[in-house]
């Protein structure tokens, strides 16, 4: 089955002001084009109709990775996942994001797909979402009334739905990552080119002197209508020494928080079980209690 695109009008604004005018003018008839690896597939395969396609790539300044002096990071919405993957700064200082971006699709897809597009499509399985939520990232939105920031945790409202009005996502801001240890694990039928059955991002601030966990972040992908922060699981760990039992309790709490559906990639029951497995595995590795450590035996 070969799928062809149906006719549409292609517009290429040169500024954000111009882009906003087009979005106001055409409303829901307009689809925003970033990398195209989701939009064009949905238009070809799933009959998504677009009368007008607004390509943002001629607007200057929407792509790029900026390391700020205070240790925070700003990423333009049109930055490709490939550019994130090739960024030695992100790999060294925000490995969670590096891991998420690097496991999307193929080389060819990552060379086109953008971080903004991955978020705006609002798939519960988007691979950059759990890492960015766990890192405390904010969306930088530009609308009629200027720019506003929205915690990514509040950005997603349902499958394919976001809290954006007639706005454009222009970038992501991530606070300094400090010395926290983190891990993103993705479980999918194929290692490459596949969508997560379940994914989990964990980030732990463990005091190396006392072994007590400060802030903990546990974010689940593909098991709820939105990328899901497992707060009860985080609270199980915060202010505590991370014993094997604690990690186990947190993994169980994450499992309880999950509200998965069943689909062709896995049943709801399988997904729920895998949330426990993956969360436990990620916590064990991120807390340094993995292989080679006597800690986990206790």
């Amino acid at each position: 089955m070969l799928s062809k695109l149906r006719e549409f009008q292609y517009l290429r604004p040169r500024s954000l002001d111009e882009a906003e005018e087009l979005i106001q003018q055409f409303g829901p008839d307009a689809r925003i084009l970033a990398g195209g690896t989701d939009l064009l597939v949905r238009m070809k395969e799933r009959g998504l109709r677009a009368r007008v396609v607004v390509d943002l790539k001629a607007i200057p300044g929407l792509a790029g990775i900026h390391a700020e002096p205070d240790g925070s990071l700003r990423i333009g919405a049109l930055t490709t996942l490939g550019d994130i993957e090739r960024s030695s700064h992100i790999r060294a200082h925000f490995p969670l994001l590096w891991q998420g971006a690097s496991c999307v699709g193929s080389v060819q897809v990552r060379n086109r797909a953008t971080v903004g597009g991955n978020l705006c499509n609002a798939s519960p399985a988007a691979d950059t979402a759990p890492p960015l939520l766990a890192l405390g990232g904010e969306a930088i939105l530009r609308g009629e009334r200027g720019e506003r920031r929205l915690l990514l945790e509040k950005f997603f409202t349902g499958p394919g739905r976001t809290a954006m009005g007639q706005e454009i996502l222009v970038g992501i801001s991530i606070p300094p990552n400090g010395a926290g240890s983190s891990l993103y694990l993705k479980h999918s039928p194929r290692r490459a080119m596949d969508i997560a059955i379940v994914s989990v991002a964990v980030r732990l601030d463990v005091d190396s002197q006392t072994g007590v966990c400060g802030k903990a972040s546990i974010v689940l992908g593909a098991v709820a209508p939105v990328p899901l922060r497992a707060r009860a699981a985080e609270q199980t760990l915060e202010g505590q020494r991370l014993t094997a039992q604690r990690l186990e309790d947190a993994a169980r709490a994450a499992q309880e928080a999950a509200q998965p559906i069943g689909d062709l990639r896995g049943t709801a029951a399988y997904r729920r079980e895998m949330v426990w497995v993956l969360t436990r595995r990620a916590l064990v590795e991120a807390s340094g209690a993995g292989e080679g450590s006597t800690f986990f035996q206790g």
């Binding site: 799928s3 695109l5 006719e7 292609y10 690896t37 396609v53 390509d55 060819q108």
Partner: protein
């Protein structure tokens, strides 16, 4: 309504009038007659339509022709030099990495993009780089071997030059 654009394909400048809903793949095959780039799944899963766009491997089925204004595109037709095949192509033939041949152009371009960034990849890195290119004939072993073979050839001067991609003359 068509869109006029100027795009450099295999080193030659082309002025094209394209329909807004036509992809780069459509333009290459139907406007320029470059049918070496294959039309496979049309949704970015199979990699048969892989070309280099400004030096990066992309699925040409998921790029609108209109998005390529001013861009440089390399297709399989631009890989061989005047004096013969590219070392990567030679390696594919030598290793028996071509069976039906449908995936081969995309494989070659993905491999070329890899060897330019990483001239001495490991087996795992080759497999990773080719994970977006499906082959239903070979079982991949000979393709991976061909790319590893060519990675030694890639050390020769002139290999993977951004403008020409041709072996040294």
């Amino acid at each position: 309504m068509s869109i006029s654009l100027c795009v450099i394909v295999n080193g030659n400048e082309h002025h094209l009038d394209v329909a807004p809903h036509h992809t780069l793949l459509d333009a290459l095959r139907e406007e320029l007659g470059l049918t070496g780039t294959k039309r496979g799944c049309e949704v970015g899963d199979c990699g048969a339509c892989t070309v280099l766009l400004n030096g990066k491997a992309v699925n040409s089925c998921l790029v609108l022709a209109a998005e390529t204004e001013g861009a440089e595109v390399v297709t399989i037709e631009g890989v061989a030099g005047r004096e013969g095949l590219h070392p990567l192509q030679e390696a594919f033939i030598r290793e028996g990495a071509v069976q039906c041949g449908f995936c081969t152009p995309g494989m070659i371009l993905s491999a070329l993009a890899l060897l330019r960034e990483n001239p001495r990849p490991s087996d795992a890195e080759v497999r990773q780089a080719l994970s977006g290119n499906l082959c239903r004939c070979t079982g991949y072993a000979k393709i991976v071997q061909a790319v590893l073979d060519a990675s030694d050839a890639s050390l020769v001067p002139g290999f993977g030059r951004p403008e020409g991609l041709r072996p040294s003359r």
